[in-house]
C-alpha cells in the first residue's frame, strides 16, 4: 500500500514539472502583470518599472521559471504582489474557508442525494421515483450560478435568513460564537450546492441500487433468512455505494474547482474567489500557487480514489 502511494507520488513528479512549465508559460502569455494593476495617476511609472525589475519580472523567462521552482522547493510560494502577503499565508486562510464550505456542501450533497436515490430505487417506477428523477435532471440542467444567485437573493436578501457575504461576522467574539458564525455563513452556499448538484450521485447510486437488487449474493442473503432491512443495508446498499465511493476522491477535488463560481456569487472569501481575483489582477504568484495546489490536489484525489477503492473493495488489493 505504502509502496503504491510512493510510486504514485513518483509518477506525479514529472507531471507536476510539466504542469509548472505550462502554468508559467501561460501566466507569462497573459497581458499585463501585477504592477499594471497599481497603475494610477498618483504613481510614478518609473517607480513601477523599478519595482517590476526588482521583482525579477524583467528577467528572461527561464531565469524567472527556475527561480520560481527553486523557491517552491524551498517551501516558499512567494509573495503576492497585489495583496502584499506571503502567498502561503494568504492561501492558508482561504483554503480553510474553501475546505469547510466544500466539506459541508459535499456532506449535504450526500445527505440529500443518498436518501433520494434510495427512495427512488426502492420504489422504482413510483411517483416518488419519477419525482426525484425529474428533479435531478432539471436541476442538473440549470447553470449553477443562476441557482446560486437565486438562492442568495431569496434567502439572503429577501428573507434575511442567512448572511450574504464573508465567512464570519465581525461581531462574533469568542471561540464558540466565531465557530457558530462561520457555520452560519456556510449554510446558504452549501445548501445551494447541495440542492442542485445531486444529479450525478443520484444517477450512479440509483442505477447501482437497481443492479444490486437482483444480484446473486442478495438472493443468497435472503436464502439465509436474513431480514429485509439487513439485506438492504448490508448487501444492496453497501455494495451499491462502491461506485459512489470510487468517485469520492474526485468529488473532494471538485470542491476546489466548483468553488470558483460559488464563492464569487456568495462573496465568500475562499480559494476560488481568490483565484478569479488573482487572474484579473494578474497576481501571478498567487495564481500559480493556486493552480499548483489544485493540480497537486487532483493528483492526490485520484490517488485517494485508488486508496479508497482498495479499502472498500477487497477485490482491488494494492500490493
Amino acid at each position: 500500500m505504502w509502496k503504491l502511494i510512493l510510486r504514485r507520488f513518483l509518477i506525479m513528479i514529472p507531471q507536476l514539472i510539466l504542469m509548472t512549465i505550462l502554468l508559467f508559460a501561460l501566466a507569462k502569455m497573459m497581458p499585463g502583470d501585477p504592477f499594471t494593476g497599481r497603475f494610477s495617476a498618483h504613481t510614478d511609472i518609473h517607480t513601477l518599472l523599478r519595482l517590476r525589475r526588482e521583482a525579477g519580472l524583467d528577467d528572461p523567462w527561464p531565469t524567472q521559471y527556475f527561480r520560481w521552482i527553486n523557491n517552491i522547493f524551498h517551501g516558499n510560494l512567494g509573495n503576492s504582489f497585489v495583496l502584499q502577503k506571503p502567498v502561503a499565508t494568504l492561501l492558508g486562510q482561504r483554503i480553510q474557508n474553501t475546505v469547510w464550505l466544500g466539506l459541508l456542501s459535499l456532506g449535504l450533497v450526500y445527505t440529500i442525494g443518498i436518501p433520494t436515490a434510495v427512495a427512488s430505487a426502492t420504489h422504482e417506477g413510483s411517483f416518488r421515483d419519477r419525482f426525484w428523477t425529474t428533479y435531478n435532471s432539471i436541476t442538473g440542467g440549470i447553470p449553477a450560478f443562476v441557482i446560486y444567485i437565486f438562492m442568495l437573493f431569496l434567502f439572503g436578501f429577501t428573507l434575511n435568513w442567512f448572511p450574504t457575504t464573508g465567512s464570519v461576522s465581525i461581531d462574533a467574539n469568542g471561540f464558540w460564537p466565531v465557530l457558530g458564525s462561520r457555520f452560519y455563513h456556510l449554510i446558504l452556499p452549501a445548501l445551494s450546492v447541495a440542492l442542485f448538484s445531486t444529479v450525478s450521485l443520484f444517477n450512479t447510486l440509483r442505477t447501482s441500487l437497481l443492479d444490486a437488487r437482483s444480484a446473486d449474493y442478495v438472493r443468497t442473503a435472503r436464502a439465509k433468512g436474513v431480514s429485509n432491512k439487513r439485506v438492504f443495508w448490508r448487501h444492496i446498499f453497501r455494495n451499491s455505494m462502491l461506485p459512489v465511493a470510487s468517485t469520492f476522491g474526485f468529488d473532494l477535488v471538485g470542491i476546489f474547482s466548483g468553488a470558483v463560481i460559488l464563492e464569487t456569487v456568495f462573496g465568500y472569501p475562499g480559494m476560488g474567489r481568490l483565484f478569479v481575483q488573482s487572474i484579473t489582477t494578474r497576481d501571478y504568484t498567487t495564481m500559480n500557487a493556486i493552480m499548483l495546489f489544485s493540480g497537486t490536489l487532483t493528483l492526490i484525489g485520484s490517488m485517494l480514489n485508488d486508496i479508497i477503492m482498495s479499502w472498500v473493495d477487497p477485490r482491488i488489493r494494492i500490493k
Partner: protein, 301 residues
C-alpha cells in the same frame, strides 16, 4: 469489386432501415422521448431557418433609446435588452449561435473520444500508456485558466474560436469513457474470432467493437450535446463570453448575474434559460430512447 461495394451498401442500408424502424417503434412507445424529439426538431429548424430572415442589424445594432423594455411594449414580444435589441430575435440568434457551438463541439468530443478511446484500449501497452499520461496531464492542468488565457490571447474571438478552444480539453472524459468500455469489450471472444478471421486491427475496432459501443455512443452523444448547449454560460459568467454582436444563450443567461436584472427584468434571461433547460432535458430523454434503440435487448417496445 464495385459490385461488392454495392451489396455491402445495400446490407448497411438494410441495417440502417431496421435501425430507423426500431427507432420509430421505440419513440412511439416512449411518449416523452417523442415529444422531446419533435421539440428538438422544431427548435433546431426554427432557429436555423428563422435566423436566416433576421437581418444582422436587428441584433447587432444598439438602440439606446429603447433599452430595457418589458415584454409586449413597442411591438417587442419578449421586450428588449439593455442595448435595446429585441429579445425574441436575440433568443433566436442566440440559440442558433449556441447550437452552432454545441453541435461541432459535440462532434469533436465524441469523434476524438471514441477514436482515441478505442485505439488506446485496443492496442493497449505503450500506446495506451502514453495517451493515459497525456489525459492525466490534461486533467490536472487547470482547464479554466488555460481557457481564460487562450481567450485573452486570441484575436477576433468568434464562435469558431470558442469551438476549438473548448474542444481542446473536453474530449478527455469521453475518451476515458470509451476506453473503459472498449477494455471490457475487448475481452470478448468475438474479438479473437475476428482476428482469426483475418480482420485487421482497424477493421476489428471499427466494424466489430464499435457497433457494440454504439448504444452508449448515442446516449453519450445526446448527453454531451445537452451539456454543451449551456457550455459558454460558465465562461461568460467569468467575463470571457462571446462578443456583443454574437449573442449566445450563455451570454443571455448571464444577464442574470446582475441580481437587479435577475429580479427586475426577467425577460432578459428567462427565455434563454428555459430554452437551455428544455433542450437539455429533451436531449436526455432522446438519448435514453436512442440507447434502447441501439441495444434492442433494452427496448421498451
Amino acid at each position: 469489386m464495385a459490385k461488392a461495394k454495392k451489396i455491402e451498401q445495400s446490407e448497411s442500408q438494410a441495417h440502417a432501415h431496421s435501425f430507423l424502424k426500431a427507432a420509430v417503434r421505440e419513440f412511439k412507445r416512449d411518449k416523452i422521448a417523442m415529444i422531446s424529439f419533435f421539440f428538438l426538431v422544431i427548435v433546431v429548424f426554427g432557429v436555423f431557418i428563422g435566423s436566416m430572415f433576421i437581418p444582422r442589424d436587428a441584433f447587432s445594432n444598439v438602440d439606446i433609446m429603447d433599452t430595457n423594455l418589458a415584454p409586449f411594449t413597442n411591438g417587442h414580444i419578449l421586450g428588449t435588452d439593455d442595448g435595446g435589441r429585441d429579445e425574441f430575435l436575440l433568443v433566436v440568434i442566440a440559440a442558433r449561435n449556441s447550437l452552432s457551438i454545441s453541435i461541432p463541439v459535440t462532434i469533436v468530443i465524441m469523434a476524438v473520444g471514441i477514436f482515441l478511446g478505442l485505439m488506446s484500449a485496443y492496442y493497449g501497452g505503450f500506446f495506451d500508456w502514453i495517451w493515459m499520461r497525456i489525459t492525466d496531464y490534461l486533467s490536472i492542468v487547470p482547464t479554466l485558466m488555460i481557457l481564460l488565457t487562450l481567450l485573452t490571447i486570441i484575436n477576433n474571438y468568434s464562435i469558431w474560436t470558442l469551438v476549438w478552444v473548448i474542444s481542446l480539453f473536453s474530449w478527455i472524459g469521453s475518451m476515458r469513457f470509451f476506453r473503459a468500455l472498449t477494455f471490457a469489450e475487448r475481452e470478448n471472444d468475438y474479438v479473437k474470432a475476428s482476428k482469426l478471421s483475418g480482420s485487421s486491427s482497424l477493421a476489428i475496432m471499427w466494424k466489430q467493437i464499435f457497433p457494440n459501443l454504439s448504444s452508449q455512443f448515442y446516449a453519450q452523444t445526446a448527453l454531451a450535446f445537452a451539456g454543451n448547449i449551456g457550455l459558454e454560460t460558465g465562461i461568460s459568467y467569468l467575463g470571457y463570453g462571446l462578443p456583443y454582436t454574437t449573442p449566445s444563450l450563455g451570454t443571455l443567461v448571464n444577464k442574470a448575474t446582475d441580481p437587479e436584472v435577475m429580479t427586475q427584468s426577467p425577460w432578459m434571461w428567462l427565455p434563454a434559460s428555459f430554452l437551455i433547460l428544455a433542450l437539455s432535458v429533451s436531449l436526455i430523454f432522446i438519448g435514453q430512447a436512442l440507447r434502447r434503440v441501439a441495444d434492442q435487448r433494452q427496448s421498451l417496445a
